[in-house]
Symmetry: D3
Subunit: 279 residues, 6 copies
């Protein structure tokens, strides 16, 4: 569960994006004191994630109570009843789209993550996300990855050192980059470096990088890199990983496999609010 | 091109999401006065959208100039050079991910939209988006739909009247809902109502709705509805429209077809910044 | 009643405008635990509007309860008791001016609107407001117009198309302007165009504008325009409408009459908080 | 001239109030590179105030230059050319209403203030404003009072001590209130107290209030109060002062006369942007 | 007690400074439903100030109750139990540092202020703070000065007139500066002027400054200035006042002594949260 | 140099704290077009830090140029000329206090840090700061520590794992805490744990903590801990470290020594703006 201190601002911004002045449809047809119930159903199979964000939309609007029949991480099927909402009809209708936009996207990410994570069940590798998230949605998307069975890489540029191709170009090579990072970064940081060749792996080992990311290598090169590295560094592999290729990657003996698609290309999980009834 | 007054806040929020204090990797390895060039390439085929948002990220950071070789709406291929960036090495590295996260998502939406819009080329129907957008990304996503050849439905709950299933339940039927909306909403609004059956179409016509949205009907029912409505209302059709089904839908004679997937389930277009060189 | 999501920020900004650090008068003379009652009276005749905004000021400050004897839209007379406030003496004194500044201005607008709306009682025309509102007060001022018996025109530049004189100059004539708007604007929009001559009315009809606004025409020209237009478009009239002239305008058969003065030149309704008593 | 640090936020908020997403009319008909000139004219006689706020609206939007033919405080007549604007046609049209809403209201206040101030020309009394300003407009409104020839009372509850009727009730009388204020408030503050009777004047003098405000007294009582007070305190008079009564009030010998109507009930000064021409 | 309207934003900003996304330590080891108690102890002798700010940190986080055994202004000793906190273990741990950072700094200021104020016990002079406060901490720091027995000078540049050396240079001398200030500033302001020589004192008296600040004068010159001024103005003295020199300064007969060090150079009071126990 | 993206908001907030409406002193005596120069001098010996923050205050106000004669990290003496400012007299006077409040505090921290860092010159230990910073000043304070020769510990609760006494209580011991953290935290994090006894050191080693913080141990116990740990973990020592004790601590062989006083109890470095001259 995420801290409301952080997510409330994003939820309020989203509500104002959808209602800059008033909901002219709802206000035209529903009186201010009207109360209703409405049900949240799944329309397809997947993993649900973000129920407390969904709830928070209505808490912020006020006068709505939610009863949940599922929790984050549960598998839902078409027509699974996930929650029942009771309260101000206006607020139910005003919050519907914003609440669903959060929940559908978060559940979509959890569902896709689950399908990747399942491929690693019989391996020692762990699934990672990336910073390829939707602007201003990272906290929700990284949470969804965890619900789906993945692990989080660093959260942002301030909380982890990762020397990528352009950094290495800027610094003049792997060694320079790693040594500069070790000299400047806080001692609480592990130093991770992205490499594309076995020569770069060798350099990274010589300067004792904590984590070596093998970027876009073929399987055979990855195997050689794994052998070279042994236990001297943590090994991450990245680059166009698909559901078809991830298991083979994992079996090379790498520690972590990062998949940008988890957050940048998941489709939503289809959900809907149905059966609104005045009470 | 979007108004900077509106988008700057969202871009700054996104930059702060990725850099809450400082970019510890870049600051460790690059001196403050270092200058570089770096190139923006496409890694797959698609429609580019959001180049001025991409540029604005670096304008906000400062000390970076961009030269563009493509404009929004252009088709790019793998290895197409889209732009060259020149300026502060620190700002190039700090802004890279945020700028790409915007551009890749916007281009992904434009690319998916184009594939739907192409199916309508030989028809009279037009393609519409929905409010099923990512929270706090709507302005970028609706712009991308236009670049891809789609049209925008209403922007938010304050600027258009659309009576959906739950509104009709709340109001006690199509007629009540439309009449209440006509009485209360500003005279500048068209009144749109969502219907699921031919009986509801009939009701909508009796109270002279301006736009009738046929929701989740089969093709045959849609054809009957189109005949019933004639020129008495604008006709929109919605509900799980796919690339396989959209052309047949269009040929029923409806005016507009709305597709939520344009914004809620587009994968990104893969792009990258490459070849950073100190100058 | 307006959505607190939207108005709370404006109310808090107003409170901070009046209390950037602390209320040095109140804090000097009243202990933090002191409780009082105080009464809200009318000092002149008019229509009350904005009671929930008045209440919200104290809800935001906290520890104050309000009992209302009137509702928005009620006619009040000098010495009418409108509400009794009970709670923290400090908050009663800190919120007094901000709460009254909102309520007096909103009630002033409702009162002026009512005087215009009353002139239209025996006609078919309806009274409209404009965008000539006080900066950052539009949501309150448009609400007050509705309480006074007027109707709202579009809320802002994003939610309605209105081609005015400068737009027509920019576009090169009425026809060009209307056709461009029809091609570009969302299909949910009605296209309104402002015209100054009968020739311009003719052009507007040829390109099937949805709404034609007759700007600053004399009565005879308006009558001719009404005849020309018939039922082919909605007719709005605007331009220096006064209490003396509005009824004659209405009798020409126009549908709507817009009056900028409702929001830009209403004087306040005089109200005051009296009889503070410690309890 | 006001500090941009403070007013920019309010101007940007006002622009976003009028353009939450985009100006759909302007964007439909004007290309992004179009340039125009347009003229700012007066439509009635009055005092102009707020030209730099008007200008700032366009500076914030960008790409517009202004040439001014009048300065704040000048008297304008119908058809006086006040300024010529040259630049982005889109920005001229997008900013028009917001810029005019500020300028018209500010000029209206300056004009009304001037009419009151003129009545005091042959007296020793000075004209004051109050805190009865429009929420979130105080900085603009108090500036306009000064342009019109008035003086500013305190700006807010944090920067001046004024013991009013409800404070005196809360404190248990004039003496208690003044003594508590003297004991608690910063030594840089003058202590002002509002009195309604000559007995209260006497109390205020005994505890050496710095400023005594005579509230709603008749002329004869005011004269007696002036005599009682002599040079022992500064004298302010307030309460329903009109253009008809202010000169007689001034001649009683009071130092200051405060008029809430300056800011709460001024009508706007009618101004308009005309003659837009593409260049 | 400060107004939550003002301080909540600063407290929330401070919490977000310390928790931009989540508390990764706490969330890793404590379940969301865990409840605990923890005690707030003093670790050294001093004056406690800011307990309601400390409490507010946890109120904003939620689900924590506080029982206080001391109030602001109390003297505490090493191991004094100040408060017991009971509630969400996560929130206790997340808020600990931010709450202590406020309380320790505020108490440090109160403690230092008390030591200066005690030196004035047997004199008629009063202790003042300055605007030499920590950016964005002024409201907390000026409050702490009052708790420690000091008085507040003006709060900011908008609420008091103080003509300092650079103002006098800009205006061309003491007389010009004071006369310009009297002509322009609101009549509710006292005019204070900083002087460095007896000649400047003379000038200040001639133009009837309300308050004369003797800046960096030696004791003998101060005595002469006090004699010159008599009761004709309030006298403030400032400039590198220390615990060793303040009493002698006070005995010269000045009214106020301002000490920048109260807010700019106080060390913190050492406090800590101990004995966390799950319940 | 810090990123303006992050610090501008804090600087603007600080300016608004000091000027909520206008600088009434400056505006009364200086015309808007007046230009001046003024000099920034040191009044005591120390290390200067924060010159670009000082400059940024005036850049944000506008129309001021700065020429610097010193850079961050330089040692200054009484009367050292640090910078000359040239530009708008109003902006020089309005920004003076806010700019100095930042610079004096930052320089004070750098100066105190330098005195601690100098004690470690002949040792292998490095000096660290803590999270005991002033609310909303952390980015400035941690930067100043680096200028003074210290190193930064983690920046906030989101970017580093540190299990302190209360976390260990909550988790039920050192082992549980470390194991839970290893299981839950991102693989990019080092796990640091605070220990108070040699038994706890042993536990920390058994579960392979990356960093062990020895809290409030005596020298002899620290020496034993250093021997026990060897190269198996990084060693940090903390707890009431003073200028007198730090060298002895360093010589025990620990890697890092953290000193909260660097940021929580540094006095300012005295600086001033002098010799304002109109030009």
């Amino acid at each position: 569960m995420m801290n409301y201190l952080i997510i409330d601002k994003l939820i309020i911004d989203a509500l104002k994006e959808d209602v800059p002045s008033e909901d002219i449809t709802t206000n035209a047809i529903v009186s201010i004191n009207s109360k209703s119930t409405v049900d949240l159903f799944a329309k397809e199979e997947g993993i649900i994630a973000g129920l407390h964000v969904f709830e928070r939309v209505f808490t912020i609007l006020g006068d709505v109570k939610l009863e949940f029949f599922k929790v984050d991480g549960d598998l839902v099927q078409p027509n699974t009843l996930i929650a029942r909402l009771t309260g101000s009809t206006r607020h139910l209708l005003i919050g519907e789209r914003t609440a669903l936009n959060f929940l559908q996207r978060m559940s979509g990410i959890a569902t896709l993550t689950k399908s990747f994570a399942d491929k690693l069940k019989n391996t020692d590798a762990m699934l990672l996300d990336t910073r390829k998230t939707t602007p201003n949605m990272r906290i929700f998307e990284k949470y969804s990855v965890k619900i789906g069975g993945g692990h989080n890489h660093r959260f942002n540029l301030s909380d982890g050192v990762l020397l990528k191709d352009n950094h290495i170009s800027a610094a003049g090579g792997v060694k320079n980059a790693v040594l500069a990072a070790k000299a400047q970064a806080s001692f609480v940081r592990k130093i991770e470096v992205e490499v594309e060749t076995l020569d770069m792996v060798k350099e990274a080992l010589e300067v004792e990088a904590d984590i070596i990311m093998l970027d876009n290598m073929d399987l055979e090169t990855i195997r050689q890199a794994v052998t070279m590295i042994g236990k001297k560094a943590i090994i991450e592999v990245s680059g166009n990983v698909s559901l078809d290729t991830i298991e083979a990657l994992a079996k090379t003996g790498v520690d972590y496999i990062s998949v940008g698609a988890l957050t940048h290309s998941a489709k939503i999980l289809d959900l809907s609010l149905k059966n609104l009834k005045n009470i």
